[in-house]
């Protein structure tokens, strides 16, 4: 199969965009937070905390680091609201901040980014529903893991992921294709070990 036409199967429900009323509500929320409303800032944290923490956990695997990254990302987002175009959605912007911080954290704590993570270097997250998947993700090199999480979990387009990774979109598509294959093999091997 041509790598550039690789189709990533995504839960259709996951692709659902917020309804128009919710977008309007979000714009009001942004304006209120920008005006300094603590209630609006709190609502933004409540609304986006889970997604930020999950994204961070999937990339860094370390529970405490993920919580710190989620908090820092939300604080950064709220500090930067003055520059945010309220016609856009907060979620993707926040996730980019989370991903960038998670990349920084991983580079700082687990060695070269093009090598699979040192599993012993971090305290594994306890909050994720599929720990085997998390382990398998962390046997991928960081750019592969980031690409997979952004594409499959967060539904970013390959071109957006490529921009963040600083590489051509074709390279990112190949990366996603290759990493999914590796993940498939790894998970399958685990299944066979468990149920020979």
């Amino acid at each position: 199969m041509d790598q550039t036409t690789t189709v990533t199967k995504i839960d259709p429900q996951h692709l659902q965009r917020p309804s128009v009323p919710r977008r309007i509500a979000e714009a009001r929320l942004i304006r209120a937070a920008r005006a300094g409303s603590p209630d609006a800032s709190e609502e933004i944290v409540r609304r986006y905390w889970t997604e930020a923490e999950r994204t961070a956990v999937l990339i860094v695997r370390d529970q405490h680091a993920a919580e710190d990254i989620a908090q820092e990302a939300l604080l950064t987002l709220l500090e930067s609201l003055g520059r945010f175009d309220e016609r856009r959605r907060l979620g993707p912007w926040l996730n980019r901040i989370v991903v960038n911080r998670a990349i920084d954290w991983t580079r700082k704590h687990t060695g070269p980014v093009d090598q699979p993570s040192d599993r012993n270097a971090t305290a594994p997250a306890h909050s994720i529903t599929d720990p085997e998947l998390l382990d398998a993700l962390h046997r991928l090199a960081l750019p592969d893991r980031v690409a997979i999480v952004m594409r499959v979990v967060l539904s970013y387009r390959a071109v957006e992921i490529a921009e963040l990774l600083g590489e051509p979109a074709g390279t990112t598509r190949s990366r996603i294709h290759r990493a999914l294959q590796q993940l498939r093999t790894d998970l399958s091997d685990q299944e066979e070990t468990k149920h020979p």
């Binding site: 300094g36 609006a40 956990v57 999937l58 908090q71 912007w93 909050s127 999914l180």
Partner: protein, 293 residues
């Protein structure tokens, strides 16, 4: 479990979000909102514009001289006033941007072929022609550094003590590079009056590298990048010089300040694509020797 990885990834979630961490975050953002930090941090953009007027880093393509705007400076594309000798034979130096420090001292950003090692690389550095000075080190973009930069969009940050004579608010000079998709870089840094921020001017250049070890497949790589320089204040009591304990404390203060500096890179759509602190990078390990001279 026989679901595909895609299905498992789509379904993966938190059993339960960390309630304690979320509460802590809520407390933090409420405190931030009450202190008006977000409003305060967005206003320095106007200050950044004013500073940018004094900071004339030209975006003119190589070969076109903008020297007349800064008096005796050489033009973009010309040889810098005080080229760094990187060893290993002849190398080409060229000015990619010119500007002025906050105190009005002209500077040049220049690139140079680094042929001193067994690998080909492009280096960039700061030259101060009127002071007959240049930065103590050049940032050399090896194949490995370029790979890292592609990952982070902004990097190769080298903070060091600025040469004497640059005037107020130019105690530290920080040079760095960003990838081509970065169109704006905002720097936030501590001052005696709290955090301040400004937009940095970006000087485009092309970095070429070829790893002799084959790490890049032995093929030459060319990246279109942008270099920048920032001059920042750092207040150090001259009395600490010679007092080892005070110097150690000053070193800690210097490292802390590096951690408080952050650079944010935005793409042309205004999306934040990278955020980095010189305190978090290896370049942040600049020693006190650079801080106190």
């Amino acid at each position: 479990m026989n679901d595909s990885p895609e299905e498992r990834l789509s379904a993966v979630d938190l059993r339960e979000p960390s309630a304690i961490a979320r509460s802590r975050a809520i407390e933090a953002v409420r405190a931030q909102a009450k202190s008006g930090v977000s409003a305060k941090r967005s206003t320095p953009r106007f200050g950044a514009i004013a500073l940018a007027v004094g900071c004339l880093l030209a975006l003119t393509p190589p070969g076109i001289s903008v020297a007349r705007s800064v008096g005796g400076l050489v033009g973009i594309g010309d040889e810098p006033s005080d080229p760094i000798d990187l060893g290993g034979g002849p190398s080409d130096q060229a000015v990619i941007g010119v500007g002025e420090t906050p105190g009005g001292v002209p500077y040049e950003l220049a690139t140079s072929d680094g042929r001193g090692s067994d690998a080909r690389q492009t280096c960039f550095y700061l030259s101060l022609p009127t002071l007959d000075e240049r930065s103590r080190s050049a940032s050399c973009l090896t194949a490995e550094a370029l790979r890292g930069l592609r990952e982070t969009s902004i990097g190769s940050l080298y903070p060091e003590r600025a040469p004497a004579g640059l005037g107020p608010d130019a105690d530290i000079v920080l040079t760095g590079a960003a990838t081509e998709n970065v169109t704006r870089v905002l720097i936030e840094y501590p001052t005696a009056d709290g955090l301040s921020s400004r937009e940095l001017d970006l000087a485009p250049f092309q970095a070429e590298s070829q790893s002799a070890t084959g790490a890049e497949g032995g093929e030459p790589a060319a990246d279109h990048l942008k270099a920048f320089a920032a001059f920042l204040p750092f207040h150090l009591d001259p009395a600490v010089a010679g007092d080892s304990l005070a110097m150690r404390e000053a070193a800690i203060g210097y490292q802390q300040q590096l951690h408080e500096i952050s650079l944010r890179a935005y793409d042309e759509d205004g999306n934040l694509i990278a955020e980095i602190s010189p305190g978090d990078t290896q370049g942040g390990g600049t020693s006190l020797a650079l801080a106190v001279g």
